[in-house]
């Protein structure tokens, strides 16, 4: 298949995925799009929102339309790391010998739904770190690879709710996107009621296989990016570094820590997916700006002053986008 055909196929599948998910999820187009972008870029997604907004439903739907193995982990305060990763159990063989056998946990799947991830203790949350970054699990002294593709789609309630533990910065940084799920509009809510209170049942079809998904992920990485576009991504990330020459005034005032290099990686990769999805062969400034919020918002650590004044990372990123010029050559002319 030629590159042109691969790209066409990519767009077709992307569109089909959106359509299939749209059969279940009402509204939240940008959430769906960004989730698909993260999956095609090979990243994990953290969905945040108050209970009942369809976060879990979205991930479950994705599990249905993607021809991948799916696990759901309900994070609770008493959940232990072994409950996620798996554990060695003493097993008796038919010949009566006893030996330890590793019993795989729910992490061993392609698509993991980590529901209400912030309700588990930090110890349990940290059990996900290796799996999310290295796509491997170390248990009982043995390293076990997870099968590709591996995605963690986590949901969490706002951290100010009862019984929640904030995710560690290291784990937050491992999420490709953090998406904020908001309330539906009146029309959307009406549609939700229609779909969920009647007898009609929607049948979903599996749109993409594991192999196709892996090919699509490879195709994404081939999309060319011009040097000045990469430079813009770098400047955006550097602008979030407080108390540095590149950091903006607002960043220096309200941030404790800025984005890690994973932020720049996320910007470029997501930009590539977005460009392909829109039928272009190159990444544009618009692509970067469009995914700047989900890619960076969870990587910025606010200081006390920001929290006291109610400044969010979204405010800061919006200001950074205003302060950092896209292209000095073009704008200056």
């Amino acid at each position: 298949m030629s590159t042109q055909e691969q790209i066409t196929h990519f767009r077709t599948i992307f569109s089909a995925l959106r359509d299939e998910v749209g059969k279940i999820i009402v509204g939240h187009e940008s959430i769906v799009d960004n989730t698909l972008v993260a999956i095609l870029a090979g990243g994990h997604v953290l969905l945040e929102g108050v209970p009942g907004l369809g976060k879990t439903l979205l991930v479950r739907t994705l599990g249905e339309v993607l021809d991948l193995s799916f696990s759901r982990i309900q994070f609770t305060p008493d959940l232990m790391p072994a409950d996620i990763l798996g554990t060695n159990l003493v097993m008796e063989t038919p010949d009566g010998r006893r030996l330890f056998e590793f019993q795989k946990g729910p992490i061993f799947a392609h698509l993991i739904l980590a529901d209400e991830i912030n309700r588990a203790t930090p110890k349990t949350q940290s059990a996900m770190l290796e799996a999310m970054q290295e796509h491997s699990v170390t248990a009982g002294g043995a390293l076990r690879r997870l099968t590709e593709p591996f995605f963690v789609l986590a949901t969490q309630n706002p951290i100010d709710q009862e019984g929640t533990y904030p995710l560690p910065e290291a784990q937050l940084d491992r999420f490709f996107f953090k998406l904020l799920v908001g309330y539906p509009t009146a029309a959307e809510l009406t549609e939700v009621i229609n779909r969920t209170t009647e007898t009609a049942k929607t049948e979903l079809r599996r749109v993409v296989s594991r192999e196709q998904l892996l090919e699509m992920q490879l195709l994404v990485r081939e999309v060319p990016v011009a040097s000045h576009v990469k430079d813009y991504a770098v400047r955006l990330v550097q602008a979030t570094h407080p108390k540095t020459e590149t950091g903006t005034a607002m960043v220096s005032q309200f941030l404790r820590f800025g984005s890690s290099p994973r932020g720049a990686q996320a910007l470029i990769l997501a930009g590539k997916v977005r460009a392909l999805a829109q039928g272009r062969f190159n990444v544009s400034f618009d692509d970067l700006e469009a995914i700047a919020l989900p890619a960076l918002r969870h990587r910025l650590i606010l200081n006390f002053e920001a929290e006291a004044e109610g400044v969010t990372t979204d405010h800061i990123i919006a200001q950074v986008l205003k302060d950092v010029p896209r292209d000095a050559v073009a704008v200056g002319a």
């Binding site: 030629s2 590159t3 042109q4 790209i7 081939e222 999309v223 060319p224 990016v225 011009a226 040097s227 000045h228 576009v229 272009r280 062969f281 190159n282 990444v283 544009s284 400034f285 618009d286 896209r326 292209d327 050559v329 073009a330 704008v331 002319a333």
Partner: protein, 645 residues
């Protein structure tokens, strides 16, 4: 054409267009700056006393700004990749062109490179560079024109200048012009004649340098007056030194009283008299007799004119009377030695009855008579001059006629050198020299040379005697040179005083010309009063004028009051006896004040009090030293200014 070539061609075309567009906008921005600059400069010039050169400077700077704006836009050439990125930005091409140029040029870009290039080429086909970058009037032009219009309107507004500034300008201009004239006058004086004495030469030269300095760098009025006063003091001192020589005084008096056109020596004068007598005829016709003759001739001409248009009977008696008168006039003119042939011709015409011809002949005769009268008057004048001129060396020296004395001495030298003098003539020479020794007393070494000449002549040594006389002549010539130096100094001094007046009154050099002599109105004509001082100041000895300013103590019989009328002793009705009141000064009483017209300086003072006091004291000293203050008040003035602290 490949996709890459198509993209590059469009980008290059756009880059060229952008360059022109930048130059166009740059020129207009420069024009806006120029307009603002001009407006500001004009506004400042209208409000503040800045030099007018600011305006052309602002204009030139404005033009340069326009040029600089154009060149700044034109000069900058940008890379194709930059132009491509600019096109992406302006046409919202989603970085297609920038990526295509960057990726498409890389070798081995492969399928992705081709995809990117084709995509960009598809988009670039829609780019219309002319529409994208139209050469229309930019925003700067919209501001430039109103600003220029404002500047043009401002041009009609009059400049605001404070009175102080205008006064300062006038002073500066006056000082500059005065300096220029002073320098020019001294320069011309030095070109005309180089002073003999080094001190005089230096003094005149210094005045010229001062003039140049004032013309080149006009200082404040006070400083200029101070410098002029110092220079005046110096020149006056030099002039006084020269004036101490008594010989020069005598020569100067003689030179002033002499007519400018009169010959220098008695010989020349005598020759002139003789030539004039010869022209007048054998008998010297007296000017009075000729005048009488002219009046009678005039009457005869009127009588002849009256005869025109009358009948013959009425004319017969008149003709006879006129014939008698004409005969008498012809006889008188012949007696005076100035025969008038036109009178004879008139008589003949009268007899022929041709009155017109009579009138013509009489007019000719009248003209001839007038010419004779003028010659007679000139002869009288020359004879008067000859009377004044010294007859011999002694008289010439006594009367200060140095040039005549030099000529006499030269004549003696020639006679002595010739060596063919008779004893009588030699004795006459010795007598003349001996007689001249005493009058030659004030003339420096002249008496010594004359004595030496006399001694040598008595000893029969003609050559040494001639040498001594030549030395005496040289000494006199030297004195004449010194007198010329004194004249130069006097002229320089006059120029300096005139300069002081010009600077003091802040007037032009021409306007303050008439103020140089007291008693003269600005027009130059003497005013009313007891005489004038027109020619009383000599080159050497300037008589003090302060005494002349106060005429109240002078008794003049011709100015005695005669009652209510000055037409003689009129008849005065009884009971109307006039009361004669005569004013006089009361010794010991309060001193009357006299208003003196002088330099009036108006304006506001902005100097330190000590500086003002010093300037006032300096000016007062200068005024006192120049005798500008009446002697009666000099002490009071000096005390007053000395007490200022």
């Amino acid at each position: 054409m490949s996709a890459l070539q198509l993209i590059e061609a469009t980008v290059i075309r756009t880059g060229r267009r952008r360059r022109w567009h930048r130059a166009w906008r740059g020129a207009w921005q420069g024009f806006l700056i120029a307009a603002v600059l001009w407006l500001v400069a004009l506004g400042l010039y209208k409000l503040l006393p800045i030099p007018w050169q600011v305006l052309p400077l602002a204009g030139v700077t404005g033009l340069l700004t326009v040029l600089a704006g154009f060149l700044a836009g034109w000069w900058r050439r940008e890379r194709a990749i930059d132009t491509a990125r600019w096109l992406d930005h302006r046409q919202h091409l989603q970085e297609r062109l920038g990526t295509a140029l960057e990726i498409g040029r890389e070798p081995g870009s492969g399928e992705w490179g081709a995809l990117v290039l084709n995509d960009a080429a598809r988009m670039v086909g829609e780019v219309d560079v002319r529409r994208l970058l139209p050469l229309t009037l930019p925003r700067a032009s919209r501001w430039s024109l109103p600003i220029l219009a404002l500047a043009a309107g401002l041009g009609f507004a009059p400049e605001y200048r404070s009175q102080e500034f205008l006064q300062r300008q006038r002073e500066k201009e006056s000082i500059r012009e005065t300096g220029r004239n002073l320098s020019e006058l001294t320069k011309r004086s030095l070109e005309r004649r180089q002073p003999t004495l080094e001190a005089t030469r230096q003094a005149v030269k210094s005045v010229g340098e001062l003039g140049e300095q004032l013309a080149r760098n006009p200082v404040s009025r006070t400083e200029a007056l101070r410098d002029l006063a110092k220079m005046t003091d110096r020149v006056e001192q030099e002039h006084r030194e020269l004036g101490k020589n008594p010989a020069l005084r005598a020569i100067e008096r003689a030179a002033r009283s002499a007519d400018k056109n009169s010959p220098a020596s008695s010989d020349a004068l005598q020759k002139q008299i003789e030539s004039m007598q010869k022209a007048l005829g054998s008998k010297e016709a007296a000017a009075d007799a000729l005048e009488k003759l002219r009046r009678e001739l005039d009457k005869a001409r009127q009588a002849a004119a009256n005869m025109l248009g009358k009948d013959s009977q009425a004319n017969a008696a008149a003709q006879e009377s006129l014939a008698n008168a004409l005969s008498s006039l012809a006889r008188q003119s012949t007696d005076l030695g100035s025969a008038l042939p036109s009178l004879e011709e008139a008589l003949a015409a009268l007899k022929a009855g041709d009155i017109d011809q009579v009138l013509k002949n009489l007019e000719v005769a009248e003209k001839n008579l007038e010419r004779l009268l003028e010659m007679a008057q000139a002869l009288d004048k020359l004879q008067q001059q000859a009377g004044k001129l010294g007859k011999d060396l002694a008289e010439q020296l006594e009367k200060g006629q140095a040039e005549a004395a030099i000529a006499s001495l030269q004549k003696m030298v020639n006679q002595l050198k010739a060596g063919d003098l008779s004893p009588e003539r030699m004795k006459a020479l010795m007598d003349e020299v001996a007689k001249a020794i005493d009058p030659a007393g004030p003339y420096g070494k002249v008496p010594d040379h004359l004595k030496e000449a006399l001694r040598q002549m008595q000893a029969g040594q003609n050559a040494p005697a001639a040498q001594a006389l030549a030395d005496a002549a040289k000494e006199l010539e030297s004195l004449l040179d010194q007198l010329a130096d004194a004249q130069d100094l006097k002229a320089t001094l006059d120029a300096l005083k005139r300069a002081q007046i010009c600077v003091g009154t802040c007037q032009s050099w021409g306007a303050c010309q008439g103020l140089s002599k007291p008693g003269f109105k600005p027009g130059g004509k003497p005013g009313r009063g007891v005489g004038t001082w027109a020619d009383e100041d000599g080159w050497l000895d300037t008589p003090p004028t302060t005494g002349l300013w106060d005429n109240s103590g002078i008794e003049r019989p011709d100015m005695e009051s005669r009652g209510i009328t000055d037409r003689g002793e009129g008849e005065i009705p009884e009971g109307m006896m006039p009361t004669k009141v005569k004013g006089q000064f009361q010794p010991g009483s309060q001193m009357p004040s006299i208003t003196l017209k002088g330099v009036s300086i108006k304006g506001q003072s902005r100097v330190a009090i000590q500086e003002a006091l010093q300037a006032a004291q300096s000016e007062a000293e200068s005024a006192l030293s120049h005798d500008k203050v009446p002697r009666a008040y000099a002490g009071s003035v000096k005390d007053y200014f000395d007490d200022l602290k």
